[in-house]
């Protein structure tokens, strides 16, 4: 029997479902509560998964479908859910994502919300934004990008007049990344409107009293302001252009869009910094030229430890692109570049980005699961893995180090604080890679040098 790829089972998925990405985006808006329209389990599982990475409360409400709901439609449940969330959390925004269940039974969420607003016309309602995220269509990254686009679609308005700010669509980076990106943009003396921004909401402080909705996030007014910005920098290169938030801003508010890719690795950072420099007509601040200088110095100091090493890279597609390009800069061959992502653009973007002479040595796997990655790794005799925690069992079998980046980090501490972007993030990653190689060499050596 002829089995096409899509006919086979997924073993140890290298992706998550769409509503997770959308919820993460809603967690990055000030005063927002994510609400999933579907069964209770979806919200609970996703909360658990996010909590284990971020180690922060992650309240996601659910419309809690029952069997009746599935038969008679989820309208009443959704309305009740919005009402209850509003009463308990007093949110400024309720971010609704659908689940496969509500999508499959055919709930028309737009219509339900229209009815609801009409019914509640007397009261003071929060903003309600909804994004369609059936988990049988795409991955968490699609949910993420679609939620960004939905927010901009609902809120961004052309306000005639340039507010001088720069819009940043960072994609699914860490809270530490978001803080660093903001620091960089602001060091160009320019306002930064970043969507989403969960740098505080998912990496916050201890509380004296319980915060129903943690402080932080981009405000609704700020999302509106994105329609009056100087430009949009979209850090995704694989996201379909027509689906992207940058496109919404361009089409609606005429904001020029720049797709820089993730600023990871020297060249990608240079691209980002020179974009900022051009947009703001300011020189790159000395702080960053020094960081860059130290990074290059480290590249040289460390190159002999890692030159010619072979790495398996897996993550969200944009992170794979960033990592693979960076690895090629430092002389590590990304022999396997894999992602569970389904954008369809990974191969194309990688081929544009990576040096042509390595083409034959690099295996690109789109829509990968960890079984694919394991099989490819067994053939590729890699020296190390770079990716999230989920590859651990494979590296354990192979006896090689795993350098943990991205999401989720479930078997180490501080994933929310790990920095990937900028010269500083690249420096950390570089140091981690060199040290992983040194540690492996030291540990497996009979001699155990204390001097390497």
């Amino acid at each position: 029997m002829d089995v096409t790829y899509n006919d086979s089972a997924t073993t140890n998925a290298c992706k998550l479902c769409t509503p997770l990405g959308a919820s993460l985006v809603f967690k990055g808006v000030r005063g927002s509560v994510p609400l999933m329209h579907g069964s209770q389990g979806c919200a609970t599982y996703i909360r658990r998964y996010l909590i284990s990475h971020f180690r922060e409360p992650v309240d996601i409400a659910s419309s809690n479908f029952s069997e009746d709901t599935a038969i008679f439609g989820g309208g009443d449940n959704l309305k009740q859910a919005i009402t209850n969330v509003t009463r308990q959390y007093k949110p400024e925004l309720v971010g609704i994502s659908t689940t496969c269940l509500s999508e499959t039974i055919g709930d028309d969420v737009g219509l339900i919300l229209k009815e609801f607003k009409a019914e509640q016309s007397g009261g003071c309602l929060p903003e309600i934004v909804h994004v369609s995220t059936p988990s049988y269509r795409g991955t968490h990254m699609d949910g993420f990008h679609d939620a960004v686009a939905a927010l901009l679609h609902a809120l961004a308005s052309s306000r005639g007049g340039n507010n001088g700010c720069i819009n940043i669509l960072p994609g699914m980076v860490s809270p530490a990344d978001m803080r660093h990106i903001r620091e960089i943009v602001e060091d160009f003396d320019t306002g930064c409107l970043m969507l989403p921004d969960y740098s505080e909401t998912l990496d916050g402080m201890l509380w004296a009293t319980y915060q129903k909705i943690p402080d932080g996030g981009i405000g609704i007014d700020e999302i509106r302001e994105m329609g009056g910005a100087r430009a949009t920098i979209d850090m995704s290169r694989v996201c379909s252009e027509k689906r992207s938030g940058a496109q919404v801003l361009k089409a609606r508010c005429n904001i020029p869009a720049h797709r820089t890719g993730l600023p990871l690795g020297v060249k990608a950072c240079d691209r980002f910094f020179s974009t900022l420099s051009a947009l703001t007509r300011r020189d790159v601040p000395k702080k960053y030229t020094r960081q860059r200088g130290r990074l290059l110095d480290a590249f040289v100091d460390g190159h002999k430890y890692i030159s010619g090493k072979r790495a398996v890279v897996y993550a969200e597609e944009d992170l794979v692109v960033g990592l693979a390009a960076f690895l090629c800069e430092i002389g590590i061959i990304p022999v396997v570049c894999a992602s569970g992502g389904t954008s369809g653009h990974l191969r194309e973007v990688l081929e544009q980005t990576l040096p042509g002479n390595l083409k034959e040595e690099i295996r690109i796997i789109e829509e990968a699961d960890f079984q694919d990655i394991e099989e490819a790794a067994m053939e590729a005799s890699p020296d190390l893995f770079i990716g999230n925690s989920k590859g651990y069992s494979i590296t354990r079998k192979l006896g090689i180090p795993l350098i943990r980046v991205g999401f989720p980090i479930h078997d180490r501490f501080g994933g929310q604080r790990s920095l990937h972007v900028g010269y500083r993030g690249t420096q950390q990653l570089f140091d981690n890679i060199v040290n992983a190689v040194l540690e492996a060499r030291q540990t497996t050596s009979d001699v155990g040098y204390s001097y390497m």
């Binding site: 029997m1 089995v3 899509n6 006919d7 086979s8 089972a9 997924t10 073993t11 140890n12 998925a13 992706k15 998550l16 479902c17 997770l20 609400l35 579907g38 069964s39 209770q40 389990g41 979806c42 919200a43 609970t44 599982y45 996703i46 909360r47 658990r48 998964y49 909590i51 922060e56 409360p57 409400a61 659910s62 419309s63 809690n64 479908f65 029952s66 069997e67 599935a70 009740q80 919005i82 209850n84 009463r87 308990q88 959390y89 689940t99 496969c100 269940l101 499959t104 059936p134 988990s135 049988y136 991955t139 916050g204 201890l206 509380w207 004296a208 319980y210 915060q211 129903k212 069992s393």
Partner: protein, 450 residues
């Protein structure tokens, strides 16, 4: 009281213990829009069946359900590790439109060929019912084609609560029970039900029974094998661990095979000793069992008692909050904490029933908060009001405790430490001691840190 606005729908599910009678509004579905800590039907089934280590567990649906339950539990296997892999039919739009049976059949065939499992469980998730796949039919076909039991688990998330998921799992297991060979089984024999071998707990408990001279035919489902489950109807007694998870299987086995059952808990010295004595009592025509049990209990308690007394000195008077899945676990926790000198100021469960809550009411002090199917806002409000020193719950409760500067103990399936039995109590006490006594709380805002 606090300024917390309890949702109207939830007013009957939050109580302060006092002399007045109250009726807990439990066993209901969660209010829409509540951030319930509950999971779904699928979760209930997955929890029960997960530890069957030589079975293939195929989740039929879009990717989420499988992805979120991949290798997250501490249920150990002494042999095969097949249960730790995550298999999904990973349904796409095409199958949602045209049906997923063909893909299910293909996936099952491929996976059985590749992994040679002893049986396969096929979990039907939310949309499978909606798109109308005949999962039972596919399972029957593959059973025939591959010669192993391929068992559907009807765990569509929205079709009830986690408890319904337990029931679906029990039904699935019951299809295996009675299909194996039972000769050579001792008359002094039991099955252990509702014990999932988290951190090796089942191994500890099996060892107790071995020392007592009681044969353990099958553990359901900790470190379980399909072959053992098949012959579990040969046991003389089913010993059902606290949670309601597997009571239904015991009832089904009683009805079908006349195997009596008793309910026990292995948590805390008192309950563990009681459990072993109860089993011994069942075999009272074998007095050597009771004798061995006495010796065992004495030795085991003797081994942990001195440390526990030392912990008690420090823990005396500390206040604990408990929010767990099943109410039965809460009973044992209250007792165990009391043994350590601690009081319980809040207790609740996701899935307790009326009798459970009546019993909780009796066990608890006046003014203890008792809740059913609670949420972060309620839980955070009460732990602060009650000035709890410790919160016992699962991963979703952890950040609530931590944000407020309160110690935490994981008593859920993700923990890696065995907390059952006598040694488990020592582990539990150590963990409680460790978290409560940590110097980090000095920096918590509630202690004037800033």
């Amino acid at each position: 009281m606090t300024d917390l606005k309890i949702l109207k729908e939830r007013e009957s599910q939050v109580h302060r213990n006092d002399l007045k009678a109250f009726h807990m509004g439990c066993d209901t579905k969660s209010a829409a829009g509540s951030v319930s800590q509950r999971a779904c039907v699928f979760c209930g089934s997955r929890v029960v069946l997960y530890p069957v280590a030589d079975a293939l567990h195929l989740v039929h649906g879009p990717i989420g359900c499988a992805a979120y339950t991949w290798d997250i539990r501490g249920a150990l296997s002494s042999g095969p590790q097949l249960h730790r892999l995550s298999f999904s039919t990973d349904l796409r739009e095409e199958q949602v439109v045209f049906g997923g049976e063909k893909k299910l059949h293909q996936c099952l065939t491929d996976l059985i060929d590749r992994h040679a499992p002893s049986a396969a469980f096929v979990y039907a998730t939310c949309i499978v019912g909606i798109i109308g796949d005949d999962v039972d039919a596919v399972c029957r076909t593959v059973t025939r084609e591959k010669g192993i039991p391929v068992i559907p688990v009807h765990s569509e998330g929205f079709k009830g609560t986690k408890k319904d998921g337990y029931a679906a799992a029990c039904k699935a297991l019951f299809q295996l029970v009675g299909t194996g060979e039972t000769k050579d089984i001792s008359p002094v024999s039991i099955n252990i039900l509702g014990e999932f071998n988290i951190g090796g707990e089942a191994w500890m408990i099996e060892e107790y029974y071995q020392k007592m001279g009681v044969e353990v035919v099958s553990v359901l489902t900790g470190d379980s094998r399909v072959e053992k489950i098949k012959r579990s109807h040969g046991a003389a007694l089913n010993v059902v661990q606290c949670s309601g998870a597997m009571l239904q299987l015991a009832e089904m086995m009683e009805e079908a095979y006349g195997i009596p059952y008793i309910r026990v808990s292995y948590f805390g010295l008192e309950d563990t000793a009681q459990a072993l004595y109860d089993v011994a009592a069942h075999f009272s025509d074998h007095p050597e069992v009771t004798e061995a049990t006495r010796a065992l209990v004495k030795a085991e308690i003797g081994a942990v008692h001195p440390d526990l007394q030392a912990f008690k000195k420090v823990l005396k008077g500390k206040k604990a909050a408990i929010y767990v899945g099943g109410a039965f676990k809460a009973f044992s926790l209250i007792k165990a904490l009391r043994y350590l000198g601690m009081t319980t100021v809040l207790v609740g469960s996701q899935t307790g029933n009326s009798q459970d809550y009546d019993l909780l009411k009796k066990m608890c002090d006046k003014d203890t908060i008792i809740v059913d199917d609670s949420n972060p806002l309620e839980l955070s409000t009460y732990i602060m009001e009650k000035e709890a020193d410790l919160f016992i719950g699962g991963v979703k409760e952890r950040p609530i405790a931590f944000k407020m500067g309160i110690g935490f103990c994981d008593h859920n399936h993700e923990r890696k430490t065995p907390l059952a039995g006598f040694k488990g109590m020592h582990n539990f006490a150590t963990e409680v001691y460790t978290t409560v006594r940590s110097p980090v709380w000095q920096f918590a805002p509630r202690f004037g840190g800033h």
